[in-house]
Amino acid sequence: MPEVIQTFDLKKTYPLEEPVHALRGVNLTIGPGEFVSIMGASGSGKSTFMNILGCLDRPTSGSYELDGVKVGGLSRNELADIRNEKIGFVFQGFNLLSRTSALENVELPLVYQRKKSKIKPKDKAMDCLVRVGLADRMGHQTQQLSGGQQQRVAIARSLVNDPALILADEPTGNLDSRTSLDLMGLFQELNQQGITIVLVTHEPDIAMFTKRCVEMRDGLIVRDTPIEEQRDAKLELEEFSGVIGI
């Protein structure tokens, strides 16, 4: 089985007057079924890296293989198809369509799906919204939802195409600790089903729910450690509920 993600000396430079070296040579290998968290200070290049992993952006130099395929040589259409079929991406800024219902937002990737699926797009999208706990907000428009709810719609959208790889840029950034726990439980469940997950976070606590922690600084990976004791979000949620007496 090939590695899911393999990057070789990945560099990204933004050609401003004073060129910004957002990535200075990142080498990372992530295998199938891994659950990786990426940590690092603001501006250390996490989002830049994630965008390249998500086939949204191209590196200035270096190469990136996804499922053994060199992404650098693919056409725009092939990249679009990879994003549509293989990857679920949760953006740092949600990136939901405004004046559009939660359900339609979640359905969006299926609109562009080329393969016919047995399940109706609408049912599939509803199912995903139920999984992130938004069963009662499906018809609400984006601007009628709270930040945390929008975050969960964005996560539901990343699940809707049954991706093999989920890339989430600070998915818990806008959530309270209880909902964060909820969400990490969902990610752990998905990971147990075999989906590879990479998520960016600022909180060391959140990283403890993953299996491996990669730390970035100034466009380079400075530390890559396995999590010794992975915490179980479901279990903690039960305890959490017990403490506040629900």
Binding site: L56, D57, R76, N77, A80, N84, S98, V111, Y112
Partner: protein
Amino acid sequence: MKIFKLLGIAQSSLLKNRTRSILTMLGIIIGVGAVIVMVAIGEGTKENIETRINSLGTNLIMIRSASNSAGGVRRGFGSSRTLLLKDEHTIREQCDLVMAVSGIVNVNGQIIGGGSNWSSSVMGVSPDYTTIKSWELDEGTFFTERDIRAKTKVAVVGTSIRDNLFGGGDVIGQSIRIQSVPFKIIGLLKSKGSTGSQDQDDVVLVPLTTAAFRLRGDSKYVSQIYVSATSMDMLDAAQEEVSQTLRMAHKLIDGEDDDFNLTTQTELTEAFTSSTETMTTLLAWIAAISLFVGGIGVMNIMLVSVTERTREIGIRVAVGARGFDVMMQFLIEAVVLSLFGGLTGIAMSFGVCRVLTDFAGMTTIIQTDIIFISLGVSGLIGIFFGLFPAKKASELDPIDALRHE
């Protein structure tokens, strides 16, 4: 592809920007509406002229004097006098394809009667004249061959004469004076109303010979001869026959120009129709230019829309839309906009034509083919002017588009 999905996307995004969509359509609405109304007015005018000319009588051949160049000096049209009273007789005797013949002698005359006077057109004609013009009598009788032979001083008048001289009262048996010659009224023509500015009821008919001998000095000549062919199909043949007969009667040798001029009603129609067609074409071009400007409006708005919706495009591309999908989305939006504008324009043009007919008395004719043509054209405008913005949208880079504010 999934055209219905794309139609759905187009519909919802057009509805989300309702005001802008309507404003964009306005250009197309006005353009299409203008084209249809202009062409409808043109067609209406054409038909109007046609019915007017047809009211002259469908099988009519008009014969007028014409100068031939034999004399060396060419005089103005109709100013020469070559048509004779006896030409009428010759045509009647010798032409088989002719159903009715009437010479016409025009007399200018002040008419005095019922204590007042009135200036009208007095015409000396044969009894056949009513057949040629399909005129009918309201009261009394028309004069006959006997009156022609005897040059009797009788007259048949139109209703305007009755109204103006006799205050609308009974006119049969009344007497009028034309150039101080007394005439007895024996018939009243049925009212025909007026076509345009010309009052068709302001007419006095007297026997041809009476007019020639008693009202005009030059008893030999007639102003015009009207001939009715036996049928519409025979018009050309009858024209030829009349022409040959007249050439024989006037003793014209081969190669010599005709000293008369034949005009049929069809020729008149053609002359008028071609001039109205020029007008229609001109109006349609002006309207088409406004439609083109409407199309530029669509392009403008679509370009603005692409810029404004860059983030939306970015999101769609990020979740897997191909360039083609994005292009189709914007193209379909443009086409839906212009098609809808076209449909609304068509609906509005019906309303405008109604108003023009009911309140301005204009004849307007909307033909079905112009409806389909303008609908097709508005669709094409959508494609033509939507293509550039759509292409622009489809070439956006996902990450740049997502960063767009």
